[in-house]
């Protein structure tokens, strides 16, 4: 039998259709987050413990050397980053979960570009993580950080950017991983050292040089520092204390401007997003 089919081609998938796909993938991410209270609480508990238990404990120890500043104020931007990063990684990890439970297949057989699905996933992860960060943001007053509208907006934007990049990173990791256990193993292995070396927990000034090198090659450093700079710009501290707690990031003695740091994070995010999309395209 002849298979000659006279057909007028249905227009190729349009931008509108892909945008709709991005939106629904993002929407699902939100629904899942809102429905999962346990996850929300557990993601919040860790930074709160760090901030109020570790921060208070360490604070009594270092009080003498940083006159006029609560150590918890120093830790605060770091804890915002930590919350955002953990939540974002978790969102990315849900891809592995989706694969295990088959739902990823439903997304991958749809007549939309893989890019739309990955972008939706990353934007969703970023939004959810920013939402989680807002709760930490609300605690600013408890650690002596003013509720300044400019500061809040700056921090929100920086959180979103960091969260997007981290979700893209997590998605790239998750693309090839088949089960949740290995994902969490790898995530711990990747995130813990990055966290320690990012300046989220201790100041990066006057570190031994080997440690200094490690902190400057750690991508997270460039996500944490802009938040700290923003917070310290709204504090009233002496130059010595500022130099000690908020030294910025130095490349061979040159301090990077915040805009460049944010630019690096954004470029990283776009590159990782591209990598994630490529991974899912290849998975055919």
């Amino acid at each position: 039998m002849a298979t000659e089919v006279v057909s007028v081609r249905v227009p190729l998938r349009g931008t509108g259709h892909n945008l709709r796909a991005v939106k629904i993938v993002l929407h699902r991410e939100m629904l899942r987050f809102v429905n999962d209270r346990t996850r929300m609480v557990s993601m919040l508990l860790q930074p709160v413990l760090w901030l109020f238990v570790m921060g208070t404990g360490l604070g009594t120890l270092v009080q003498g050397s940083i006159p006029g500043v609560d150590f918890r104020t120093f830790m605060y931007p770091g804890m915002i980053s930590m919350t955002v990063i953990m939540t974002a990684m978790f969102s990315a990890g849900s891809i592995v979960w989706d694969r295990e439970f088959g739902f990823l297949r439903e997304m991958l057989v749809a007549p939309v570009s893989r890019g739309a699905i990955v972008i939706g996933k990353c934007l969703g992860g970023a939004l959810v993580a920013t939402g989680q960060g807002v709760i930490i943001l609300a605690m600013a007053g408890l650690v002596g950080v003013p509720y300044d509208p400019v500061l809040i907006v700056t921090l929100l934007a920086e959180m979103f950017l960091a969260a997007f990049t981290i979700t893209a990173f997590g998605t790239t990791l998750a693309a090839r991983i088949r089960n949740m256990q290995s994902f969490f193993g790898i995530m711990q292995m990747a995130i813990m050292p990055m966290m320690f070396l990012s300046g989220a927990m201790f100041p990066l000034s006057s570190l031994p040089s080997w440690l200094h090198v490690l902190t400057t090659i750690n991508p997270l450093t460039y996500a944490v520092d802009p938040m700290r700079q923003a917070v310290f710009a709204h504090l009233d501290v002496t130059p010595q204390v500022n130099a000690m707690l908020n030294p910025g990031v130095n490349w061979f003695g040159w301090q990077l401007p915040v805009a460049l740091e944010l630019g690096l994070v954004a470029v990283g995010g776009v590159v990782l997003l591209g990598a994630a999309i490529a991974q899912f395209r290849r998975a055919d």
């Binding site: 089919v5 629904l31 088959g102 739902f103 057989v109 749809a110």
Partner: protein, 328 residues
Amino acid sequence: MTTDRDAPAVSVKGLRKSFGEFEAVKGVDFEVAPGEVFGFLGPNGAGKTTTISMLCTLATPTGGTARVAGYDIVTERDEVRRNIGLVFQDPTLDGYLTAEQNLRFHADLYGVPKHLVAGRIRQVMEMVGLWDRKDNKVETFSGGMKRRLEIARGLLHSPRVLFLDEPTVGLDPQTRSAIWGYINKLRHAEDITIFMTTHYMDEAEYCDRIAIIDHGRIVVIDSPEALKASVGKDRVQIHTGDDEAAITALKERFGIDAAVHEGAVTFAVPSGEEFVPRLFAELGMPIRSVSVSRPSLDDVFMNYTGTTIRDAEAGDGRANVMRIMARR
């Protein structure tokens, strides 16, 4: 739609698929007419799921071509995807979302026109009798309800061809017959072609036409009735004290080739009832029990492949490896 209504819904030519050294599908050819319910029948590992995966654009063929709903499965992948509905062996629902949210997600991914979404969701959910459960989370659903919801979802974007890969596997008999009820209702309600795989012989009877596939090749394609008629013989199974001796005696005295299947000496004769008295009189050895059955699709399968579908599965250790490879 833009394609010719009378063109085949599925048209396959020389389709092949290899996984490394192993050739799972060894060049199959067939056509499915629009509106037909077409069954792919064969033991696990025969190449059914691999073939369906290729037709659904989930696997790339190593050779041959195929068109689904008029579109090439390799070069016009997105058009194929837009025109097919899929129900897999394994569930692909999000248990944390409600039934309706799952369908809404699907509607957006497939670009169902926005003003039609709500009405269409209600229509397909009512068809499978789940409308009253639309606000329940899918994780609270039973296996049968999930399968029904997946069928509803597969229909949501009004596909031209609905692919059902083992739609009733793992369900209890009652749910299985309910699923078949929906499928029958569906062929009348929607202008759709159904392509399904199964390894349940009794389910194959519901199809308009059946392709029997074994070891990656299509053995025969025809309607269930024609296939049964082509066997033309009744199946006789006897239990004796000595199966070997019985087989030899059947060969010597009646010229019949018999073999042991499912624990009984089995053979086919043109009219079973008339043969049985002769059998008792002339076999020359005691017979403990005898059963005569009209040709079923099981016999058709046996007639064309030389083995029953159960024996074929028991002997094929490759089946599971294949399924894992074909899955993603």
